[in-house]
């Protein structure tokens, strides 16, 4: 955006020399323009210098405060990857489906069948599938409850459905705090209250979801077409009737789309919260990596990867069906 100007300038610089002297007004214009261009270039250079300093400082600081130094660790980087290679290719599948391993020496590393969750006498669910289902359920329940609560709150926070200014202000700040509050603190607090388990993770993800969805929802509501609402108002509908019959049908597809997007995010979030004590697949992954169980780690990564891709694809397909091609395909985020 800047360089075309500069290119233009260099052209004009060379050309002006061929022209007779400018008039008084012309010179003023030229001077102003040169000053402007100069200032612009100065800003660009200053910005670049500042940015380079910030970036260099950041990297230096990160390296200096890290436990291992980047250049020391880099040659050993692939050692770690080689530590991830299991004894044979089948080990990964054995770990994934809890089949007995020929290397079983009674240690935690090869005790795949012990994790089986029996549904009937013979039919079992492999450990990691069970944990993955647990994590997915945490995400689903949190999304559902967050959707419900966000749905109820968003109409109170929308400017165009003004209920009461103070109520709106309060609801908005409330949702902001829910959203910005670090999930990990909520999880940690409820872990202290309930001891380990999935419920703290669920509460943490739910609380964040309420705030995040509530914000997106009220923005959708504020962009809704108000003519239907005016019609209902003219017919004497009360607030609830107006919202329910004029706003909700308009915004529901977008709400559902955002809800699905949030579900994708929540699957990841509940995995992470799981890793810090909330149970589910995240915890299994953290344990197996820190214990150096290569086959188990690979099995979990494989399962997690497949699940996340499947969830993303499913949700993208559903969103496309609900809101059409303009589905909000926007990765993850706060």
């Amino acid at each position: 955006m800047i360089s075309p100007m500069r290119a233009q300038k260099s052209i004009s610089m060379t050309t002006t020399t061929h022209f007779p002297a400018l008039s008084e007004a012309g010179r003023t214009v030229e001077r102003h323009w040169r000053e402007l261009a100069g200032r612009r270039r100065l800003h660009t250079i200053l910005g670049l210098v500042l940015f380079t300093v910030a970036m260099g400082g950041s990297l230096w600081f990160a390296n200096a405060t890290n436990a291992g130094k980047f250049w020391d660790r880099l040659p050993h980087f692939f050692d770690f990857i080689s530590m991830l290679v299991p004894r044979d290719g089948m080990e990964v599948w054995r770990a994934l489906f809890d089949l007995p391993s020929p290397y079983d020496d009674g240690s935690l590393k090869f005790n795949y069948p012990e994790g089986r969750v029996y549904l009937t006498e013979t039919l079992y669910l492999p450990e990691y599938f069970y944990k993955m289902i647990e994590t997915l359920n945490i995400a689903a329940v949190s999304t559902l409850i967050g959707f419900g609560a966000g749905f109820c709150l968003c109409f109170l926070a929308a400017k165009n459905l003004a209920v009461n200014r103070w109520l709106r202000f309060f609801v908005r700040r409330f949702m902001e705090v829910l959203r910005a509050f670090p999930e990990i603190v909520i999880a940690g607090f409820f872990l202290a209250v309930f001891s380990l388990g999935a419920v703290p993770a669920m509460l943490a993800v739910t609380i964040h979801t309420i705030g995040a969805l509530g914000k997106m929802f009220f923005e959708v509501v504020e962009n809704a077409d108000m003519r239907a609402e005016e019609g209902l108002r003219a017919a004497g509908g009360n607030w609830i009737e107006r919202v329910w019959f004029s706003i909700v049908p308009q915004v529901m597809p977008n709400f559902l789309s955002y809800g699905l997007l949030r579900f994708e995010i929540n699957v990841r979030a509940s995995t992470i919260i799981g890793a810090v004590g909330g149970g589910g697949i995240g915890e299994a992954l953290r344990l197996s990596i820190s214990r150096g169980h290569e086959a188990k780690t690979l099995a979990i990564v494989l399962l997690l990867f497949t699940t996340i891709v499947a969830v993303d694809q499913f949700s993208a397909w559903l969103r496309k069906r609900i809101v059409g091609a303009q589905a909000f395909d926007f990765g993850r985020g706060g």
Partner: protein
């Protein structure tokens, strides 16, 4: 235009019931959906045993933890001797080494005290209640470390000494008062008075019925008095444990070892500005700053360092990801790079980087680089390269082709076509997307920190795990919230400028 009266509308509705009531599918879907959701939630209730978990929750403790966020407790113990009392405070009491709080008043008298040895004449502060427990039946007390140091040769003999000792302690906890004497505790709160007779090391007995704020599991056992927020007291047969709660973050600036501790703000200011050097090696201002940064309780220096790490993780990770995704996105976009295989390969790479969760990357890099911000930067870098690559290449595929054609028509080289035909269109969008992810990464960096990827997350997690330092958790949360809000405002301000105030979410 003809107008229908209500009666006419009703008549039409009556003739075409089917048209007005909607199809069966239409009517039933909503209810089925609602029933499905309720059924699923019921299943989840069972699956996670939510009822049991909630019933088994430590709600008492939860209240205490929440109170700890914004308040602190002072915990004096009053131990019963034969005929006197011994008041002690825990070692790292927020009131310093020798607390004399105004809400504890004592009466002293000269009494005969059984001492473990001639050397062990330390004040009440040093000898713990343990030395009194040991004197039952006139046997020598198992001497503590302090006493052993004083009398290193041979076991000390019990000895009767006449000395000044506390014989009565009055403790005010909010609106309640405890009147503690050897053998008797009288608690008053509002109009209620509770008299407790203590037979030392045997039993605690209430003289009358217990008021609502007192509880006792079985006759003779300890009595717990609850005074709401102000605190509580446990009256046991050998000591009274008092927990008095105060609002605020105690010793936030200076800990009890600091020479500035306990001084009013004005005095500290005067000392810093004009006072004589307390430490000959440095000025008072440097000393004060040093004391604040190295505050043992709040660990300001460490917290700030870790917070900076988190900020740096989000910043450097996002910048690196942007820098790498930018050229790759051009190669991945169908309309820019005509090579289908390269397009597909890069797009699958982006999907891979994005779908292997940030958590997995964080755990991997923590193993590779050791715990610290490098792991966090790498995790954010990898995940976001995938995300940005996907977003950027999709943006590129939706650009307006006319500008490119214009630049190409004047004979520009392919690189210049991209530079002047494409980049000006997409740069604001790209930057806006990166900025949006920068602020969201600040939040993510907190969380992945807890698995070892450096930053404040780990510190936060450690503070929570001890269950003692909830006020530190609150402090860090406040800092994180400030950072998140500031970055939020900063990034949305830039995004508004870039996008001309239009589209907000990229």
């Amino acid at each position: 235009m003809s107008t229908l009266s209500t009666a006419e509308v009703d008549e039409i509705a009556a003739r075409h019931v089917a048209a007005f009531s909607g199809s069966l599918r239409h009517r039933v879907t909503g209810w089925l959906l609602a029933a499905g959701i309720v059924a699923y939630l019921a299943f989840a209730w069972w699956f996670f045993a939510i009822g049991t978990v909630f019933a088994g929750g430590n709600w008492d403790i939860a209240g205490n933890y929440l109170a700890d966020w914004v308040s602190y407790e002072v915990r004096p113990d009053v131990a019963f001797g034969d005929n006197h009392l011994e008041i002690s405070y825990p070692r790292f009491s927020p009131l310093g080494d020798d607390p004399q709080p105004g809400w504890v008043t004592t009466e002293s008298a000269e009494v005969e005290v059984t001492k473990a040895g001639a050397g062990g004449s330390g004040g009440g502060m040093q000898s713990s209640s343990g030395s009194f427990l040991g004197t039952v039946g006139g046997k020598p007390a198992p001497t503590g470390g302090a006493d052993a140091a004083d009398a290193p040769d041979g076991p000390a003999l019990p000895e009767l000494v006449r000395e000044e000792a506390v014989v009565r302690a009055m403790v005010e906890i909010g609106a309640a008062t405890l009147d503690i004497r050897p053998g008797q505790v009288v608690a008053t709160r509002g109009g209620d008075e509770l008299v407790l007779d203590i037979r030392r090391n045997e039993s605690v007995d209430a003289a009358g019925p217990l008021p609502a704020w007192a509880s006792q599991r079985a006759p003779g056992e300890k009595v717990i008095l609850r005074f709401g927020f102000a605190g509580r007291a446990e009256i046991e047969d050998d000591e009274v444990k008092i927990r008095h709660r105060f609002w605020g973050w105690e010793n936030f600036l200076f800990d009890t070892r600091s020479p500035f501790w306990g001084k009013p703000i004005g005095e500290v200011m005067t000392l810093v500005a004009f006072g004589e050097r307390i430490d000959p090696l440095m000025s008072n201002a440097a000393l004060a700053w040093n004391n604040v940064v190295n505050n043992a309780e709040w660990q300001h220096g460490d917290v700030w360092l870790k917070l900076l790490q988190t900020i740096v993780m989000a910043f450097a990770g996002t910048v690196l990801a942007t820098a790498l995704a930018f050229p790759l996105a051009f190669a991945a976009a169908r309309n820019i790079m005509p090579n289908r295989i390269a397009n597909q390969l890069l797009k699958r790479l982006f999907d891979f980087l994005r779908s292997v969760d940030m958590l997995i990357w964080a755990l991997f890099f923590t193993r590779a680089f050791g715990p610290g911000p490098l792991a966090g930067i790498s995790a954010i870098f990898f995940t976001d390269t995938g995300t940005f690559g996907k977003l950027y290449s999709e943006t590129l595929e939706n650009i307006d082709d006319k500008q490119r054609e214009g630049v190409r028509s004047v004979g520009a080289s392919p690189a210049l076509v991209q530079r002047y035909g494409v980049v000006p269109q997409i740069l604001p969008v790209f930057l806006s997307q990166s900025l949006y992810f920068w602020e969201s990464n600040t939040r993510s960096a907190t969380i992945i920190g807890a698995v070892g990827a450096g930053g404040i997350g780990l510190k936060l997690w450690e503070a929570m795990r001890t269950n003692q330092d909830w006020e530190n958790v609150a402090y860090m949360v406040v800092l994180i919230l400030i950072v998140v809000f500031v970055f939020d405002g900063f990034s949305s301000a830039i995004r508004h400028r870039l996008m001309g105030g239009g589209l907000q979410r990229g």
